[in-house]
Structure formats: structure tokens, C-alpha cells
Symmetry: C2
Subunit: 335 residues, 2 copies
């Protein structure tokens, strides 16, 4: 049995998405057992089938009024998010899935489940939808603000294992996000990272890629520091969202547009779904002792079920032990 | 008379766009005089009206086989790009417009026309189309790889003058591109920049803005260092381009799509033009002794004409002297 802990109160819709998602996940996979962390009074009316689903009661939601995520985690130990993390720490679940606030999730994973001792840093790794319909991994997109070249090595290794085992990519190509394609481009860090990754064992390094390639990427994994990665992924999401809004406006603006819409409704639906970040999966937090998936805040229940299956796959394929086996051994004194 | 120097051989289409654009610009504006730097044999057959247009002959195009832009500029002093820059340096034209390669243009402006002694750094500042149809300025997007907080002050001042005088924005709001909206977010540089800009005289500082706001921005000017700005602008352009391609594919994929297209052709055309970066104007190079506009490499002649008018406006409104008057005086010894 693979035991998934779910922050049932997280996200914009809370139990309305997490509970149906949990029921579907256990129905579709005989191998999953789920623990819902959340308000029993809210969960029970929705839980029409509790086979392999248990509840650990708490009515506290992670309070994000507190802007400093470290303080937020400290102040809310009995929130559904922190309790799910604690269960993972104590090994009563194998992975955590949540739609909670990103910085709170990263911080709670770090502070409660704790970092793998073989890794120096934790990374936030979403899946980017691409033009060719195949997902790409991009990391880090905001767990860190400053990184050294060595961190890209461990992130590249981790992402390579995930790309192979979870996404089924045979020999994942790894690129580095930069402001030019040639080796000497970018800041000192970028030049160092290029050189370091070029001779790093265990990854298939392709070279630099630029911002306009992220959505039509020649590589499967894009490495970047948290600042650049965050700007990149948010710009991509914001642009896709506003373009969708503009297209709607233009179509609605005339009778011809409205009639045309009736003919191509299915085409436009397919168009809209091609860059839907929610559909490709949740963001993963790498470098923690257990798999943690951060689903989109406004996930529907089928999207959240996808995130549960993603966590299931990470446990089933034993991602963390496979990564640890590949990472250079750290001297005990380093800790 | 305002004298604009044009790199007639630059860009993907060369004289086929630059010459008609020059003729239209002088026809539509009695105040413009143009010098075309380029191959007489190619220009003359297209130049059906040479009123207020002269030619300075050269058949050399800036060679971008050389990857290092500094070496490229040194090796090609008689390229149409470098000759236009030299004319600006010698004050025989008031501004330069080119569709040449970005890094080559920035480097040639820097090396030939030279930096304003009142500014520490040069910045590349494109205009970003936005959801509301109003243009925004974003800088720097790649002229620099490392900046200090003080540079954002001078960039903010320069962009504020341009936003007022060229774009007609009354009291331009200035934002800082960051990975969170609160003051304490980001790298050390980002925190320092926030604090520095908060109390900087002469700009209307709004605070941080995030990547997903760039295309629907609450501010008129977005400040960022060259790495983050370059990633942002390229991601935006790449996403817009690939979304356009996806929409075309989906529409063509079925008969319903093709019929629907006939009804909403105009709507889709308007949609496509809303994020067309070429239409909003060329990228400006700030911090040089003369205005320099870098138009898109694949500009059509009306787009290139727009870039000529942009340069005209910058000269007409005396941008550089207005900026210099606002910049803190530098000690002569600083040079």
C-alpha cells in the first residue's frame, strides 16, 4: 500500500475538490491508501465511500495573513498542511499532496519533513506544458534566491530521475536558462554553471536555452536559479492567461465572432487546454525526505486527483532512494 | 530639421523595408531629413523620391558570424550599422534607427557614439504591448549582466522622461520586477533596489511587480537587471508566438474550425495584433549620447517607419538633455 497524506483544507476550494479527488484516486488504484487532514464535519458529508480513506481531524487552515512563511509555519503547527507534513515526517504517510500557498508549502516541507542530508538545497519544480504536448521540468522557480553552481548538479540529477521514472522520458536532456545560447553568455554564475554542468556525471547536458524556448523547448529539464525561474514561469503563465482573455474578448466583440465560435468551439477548447499548467501536474518539491506535491491553488478535483497520482508514482518508483544513490556521498561532518 | 541616420542594410529584409519606410517618413513629416547608410546600387532603384533623403554608400553589412559583439564592431567599421553610428557621433545625424542584431547595436552605440558621462550604464529598453492596449517600458533586458541598485535610479529617471515625452504618460509609475510583491522579497540586490527606489527623487515608485503582471501591468515602467529582464521579455514573446501557432493549428484541424474562421477572421486578426511587439515600437538604447532605436529584425516598412518616428520624437522632445538635467551631476574625476 502506498499511503498519501492530503491537506484536505488547502487550496481555493478545499474539501470540495480534495475529498472527491481522494475517493476517485482510491477507486482507480487499488494500491493507494489516503489520509485526509482536515475538518471532519466538512469532510464526512462528502465522503460517500471511505474505503482506504481515513481522516485526521483539524479545523485549522494554514493562515497566510502572516507574510513570512517561516513564522506562518511555526504559528500554525495544527493546520491541515502542517499536520500532513508531520505525518510524513513520522512516516505514517509516504507523500504529501496539497493546494496550499506555495511559499508556505515549501517552508513547511523544509521545516517539518526536513531536507535530504545528501542535498544542499531544496528546489521547487513545476511541470511546464509545451507546444509539442510533452511536459518539461523547470527548477528552481523560487525555493531559493541565491544558488551556487554545485546546486545545479544536484537539481539536474534529481530532475533526471523524475523525468525518467515519473514522466517516462528515456534519456532526459538538461538545459540551462540563460540570456544567450553560447557558453560564455550571462552572469558569472551562468558561466560557471555552464562549465560545471558540461562535465557533470549523470546528466545529459544540452547547453543554454533562452526564455523564448521554454514553451517550445529542445530539452526536457530546464535548470535555473530561483529568481530567473520564477520570473520565467510567471511570465509564461501570465501571458497565456491574458492571451486567453484577449481571445475571448475579441470573439465576443462581434456577431461574426459569436457565430464563428459555434463552429470552432471544440477547436478553441483544445487550444485553451494545450497550455493549461494545471493539467500537466503539480509542482514537486525536490530535496525533501518524502515526495511533496503542490497542486495549483484553484485545482478542480480531477486535477487534484492527477497530483495524487503523481505523488503515488514518485513513491511507487522509489524516487528518493534512487536519487540518493546517485548523489555524491556527503561527509557526515558536513551536516 | 531633424536628421535621422538609418542603417539601410540591417534587418532580415534590408533595403526592401528601410527605403520605403524612409520615403514615407519624410512624406508624412516635413520636419525629417534622412541619411541612408547602405549600398547605393540597391537603394537607388527603390528610392523613387529622394526629397530630404541622402545616401552614404557602403556595401558592408555588420557580420554577426563573429559571436563576440565587441570584436564584431571593431572588425566592421565600414558596415552600414557602424557608419550610421559614426555619423551620430560626429553629429551629422541626430539619431540612429536600425534593425540590426541586438547585441551588435548595443555594442556599436556604446563603442562608437559613446555613453553619456552622466550615466554609469547603458540599458536596452523595449516597449511591451499590454492587455489594456497601452505600452509599457521594461529595462534593462540585456545590455548589462550585473547591476547595482544605483543603476536602477538612473534607468528609472531616463524611462520616466521617455514615458512622459514620447509615450505621453502623465505621471509614469515605476515598478521593480521581483519574485514577490512585498518589500523584503528576492535576492540581496532586489531588496536593496526596492529600498533605494522607494526614496529616490524624480520617479514615482510603485513597488515590486511579478512576472505574471508584466503583460497586464499596474505600472508604466518596469525596472529589472539584464538577466531577469531578458528572460521575462523573451518568455513573453516566445509564449505569445507559440500560442498564435497553436491557435492556427487547432483552427485548421477541422472543417468546423475552417468555417468558423471565415466568420471571425477580423476578430482573430485583432487578437493577433494586440500582442504584436513590433507594432508598439522599437527597443531604445538609453544612456548613449544620441537616441538609438533598434527595430525588430523582421520589421515591415510600416513598422520601421514607426521606429523612425519614435527616434524623431526623442530628438524633437530633446530627451537626452532633459534626462541629463535630471541626473545627479557626476564629479569630473569619476569618468
Amino acid at each position: 500500500m502506498i499511503r498519501i497524506g492530503i491537506d484536505a483544507l488547502g487550496g481555493d476550494l478545499g474539501v470540495a475538490t480534495t475529498v472527491p479527488a481522494a475517493m476517485n484516486a482510491v477507486k482507480n488504484n487499488k494500491d493507494i491508501e489516503i489520509v485526509l487532514f482536515g475538518d471532519e464535519a466538512k469532510i464526512k458529508p462528502l465522503l460517500t465511500n471511505s474505503e482506504r480513506i481515513s481522516i485526521v481531524h483539524t479545523d485549522k487552515v494554514m493562515d497566510m495573513g502572516e507574510k513570512n512563511p517561516m513564522i506562518a509555519v511555526r504559528k500554525n503547527p495544527d493546520s491541515s498542511l502542517c499536520m500532513a507534513m508531520k505525518a510524513a515526517k513520522e512516516d505514517s504517510v509516504d507523500a504529501v499532496v496539497t493546494s496550499g500557498p506555495t511559499q508556505g508549502v515549501v517552508m513547511a516541507a523544509h521545516m517539518i519533513i526536513r531536507k535530504l542530508k545528501q542535498m544542499d538545497r531544496v528546489a521547487l519544480c513545476p511541470i511546464v506544458p509545451n507546444y509539442d504536448g510533452k511536459p518539461r521540468l523547470i527548477l528552481d522557480v523560487g525555493a531559493n534566491v541565491e544558488l551556487r553552481k554545485e546546486h545545479f548538479g544536484e537539481f539536474g540529477l534529481y530532475a533526471t530521475v523524475v523525468a525518467k521514472e515519473v514522466l517516462g522520458i528515456k534519456d532526459p536532456k538538461v538545459g540551462y536558462l540563460n540570456i544567450g545560447s553560447e557558453p560564455g553568455k550571462g552572469r558569472e554564475l551562468d558561466k560557471e554553471a555552464y562549465e560545471y554542468l558540461s562535465s557533470f556525471e549523470g546528466i545529459n547536458f544540452y547547453g543554454n536555452i533562452e526564455g523564448d524556448q521554454v514553451i517550445n523547448s529542445p530539452v526536457d529539464i530546464i535548470l535555473c536559479e530561483g529568481y530567473g525561474g520564477n520570473i520565467c514561469i510567471k511570465t509564461l503563465e501570465g501571458t497565456a492567461k491574458m492571451m486567453g482573455a484577449m481571445l475571448k474578448e475579441e470573439i465576443k466583440s462581434s456577431l461574426g465572432g459569436k457565430i464563428g465560435y459555434l463552429f470552432m468551439r471544440k477547436n478553441l477548447k483544445r487550444f485553451a487546454s494545450r497550455l493549461d499548467a494545471k493539467k500537466v501536474g503539480g509542482a514537486m518539491i525536490f530535496g525533501i525526505n518524502k515526495p511533496v506535491i503542490k497542486a495549483h491553488g484553484n485545482s478542480t478535483s480531477d486535477i487534484f486527483e492527477g497530483a495524487i497520482n503523481q505523488a503515488y508514482k514518485m513513491v511507487k518508483t522509489d524516487i528518493i532512494n534512487k536519487v540518493v544513490a546517485k548523489l555524491p556521498k556527503k561527509d557526515e561532518k558536513d551536516e
